[in-house]
Symmetry: C2
Subunit: 263 residues, 2 copies
DNA sequence: CGTCACTTTGAGACGAGTCAATGACCGTGG
DNA sequence: CCACGGTCATTGACTCGTCTCAAAGTGACG
């Protein structure tokens, strides 16, 4: 499946097509993003892309595989606060707050593209639509976080797992990597435990539970959702918070039309 | 305690002084923010400032009291994903993603200042330092959310409560409303339950537990932390994620110095 | 063919939820 | 001035979801 070579411009194009889904960009802006200097970087699973506490100087775009943001407790327990799939600009917030307060770690084999903050700042200053797009991306990220938090606080293990599977399926399909009810999910049950606030043991039992009720087939890092509506009902899944529809774009267009005069 | 009248310019000044703590602004930019049109709004506890699903057209600044962001489940259970204290620009993200995915509700009696998005966009387009400041504020918000999520996933009720008290104390002191170990915390135990992912009953028992071990005195919506280091140790509290120090500002200054040329 | 990482299973303990009732406080109206 | 209703805090007994500790099973890879 994985190609041996991916050019930086191919990778940047994937990034741009993702951005444009939420924030309309003109030709100039697209060109500016395409001409960003960037370097491809490969990694195995479970290695730090960004170490906790590090002063980050490059943002990071996921080209292939999955990444996770980890918060670590003093006793070693850890929590995944975000998962990033292909196309996600997972480190954009570091442009304005460069001190990382958690680790960014690969969950599977990954290919990432790294772009220096300096260059992102440069295009951001020239093109207001680009800052706005970056800012919007960070806000959507926070929106996803809110839903994760609500799920952790108010849903049991079964519903939380169902919700995560629905979300990842939806995001992967949108990224053009599989169907929402049939996709590769390259993480371990320990990763799922860290993301859901459970223990690996209980994740295992929860998956068996969902399997036994005929909702999913999972194994070999692949997920099949047999009955999407049923799983979505268990999860209470409503994809609005992912802001993948045209609603956000419509609002973004209003932005562009606001005249740049003042006083 | 509460004054009967607060002018909009007084309120805006409070907002600016808060922004400047994280993002340096020049005189022009400060003046532009001060001249923003804004209206004062008062409300009792437990009323929606922003309804879920609403298309927001004004951002909202907390002048007095506390607000919470709520995510509601289908069965009525709800989760508070953020708490906002005086000075917080709690709705800034709505400038780029105007569709609210949760409710914004008063927790106590509140005074808020509302500023139309249109005008915020206007100043944001003229002054790059202002967009950047807004963006940064949203990112710091997300940083706080990450920590809440990690706490919900990996800490027990006692530690979660201790952490929330440390955080709110720190934020209130920074906002100039009380000392971090002695402050008014105008929320009910049900609010605490919604914020911590617990039931009101268990919040009550947890507070008694912290009281009985001599860590806090709480009652009448007031908190006293008898032994800060002890409570911080229970919580594993490290205020770095609040980005109240000079670190963030230093990084922000680098931004300003990046030349606005390209190609 | 052995090692290593990951998954699966079992039994028992414990933290937090549920349900239900009582108590304290406060503003309001008779 | 006191009875009333409402909201919030507190308590007890019991249930249940999830954790813990431990061991065994599976599969990939060198």
């Amino acid at each position: 499946m994985q190609r041996l070579t991916i050019s930086t411009s191919e990778a940047l194009e994937r990034f741009i097509s993702r951005i444009v889904q939420r924030s309309p960009l003109g030709d100039d802006e697209t060109a500016a993003l395409l001409s960003l200097p960037a370097t491809i970087q490969r990694g195995r699973a479970n290695v730090d892309i960004v170490a906790p506490g590090e002063l980050v100087e490059q943002a990071c775009l996921v080209v292939e595989g999955m990444l996770g943001r980890f918060v670590q407790m003093l006793d070693g327990r850890r929590q995944i606060t975000a998962m990033y799939v292909a196309g996600d600009m997972c480190d954009l917030h570091s442009v304005v707050v460069p001190r990382a307060d958690g680790a960014l770690q690969s969950l599977s084999n990954v290919v990432v593209l790294r772009v220096p903050h300096e260059d992102l700042r440069r295009v951001a200053r020239i093109y207001p639509a680009i800052v706005e797009a970056f800012w919007r991306d960070c806000v959507v990220d926070a929106s996803i976080q809110s839903v994760w938090m609500a799920n952790m606080g108010r849903l049991d293990a079964r519903a939380r797992m169902a919700h995560l599977l629905c979300e990842i399926g939806t995001r992967l399909e949108h990224a053009g990597v599989g169907k929402r009810d049939r996709f590769a999910f390259e993480v371990t049950q320990s990763h799922l435990a860290d993301a859901l606030g459970l223990t690996p043991v209980h994740v295992n039992r929860t998956l068996q539970d969902l399997r036994s009720t005929g909702n999913i087939a999972i194994g070999n890092r692949r997920v099949e959702i047999s009955d999407w509506p049923a799983l979505a009902a268990i999860a209470g899944f409503d994809p609005a918070y992912l802001h993948l529809d045209q609603d956000t774009v419509t609002a973004a267009k209003a932005w562009r039309q606001t005249p740049a005069t003042f006083g």
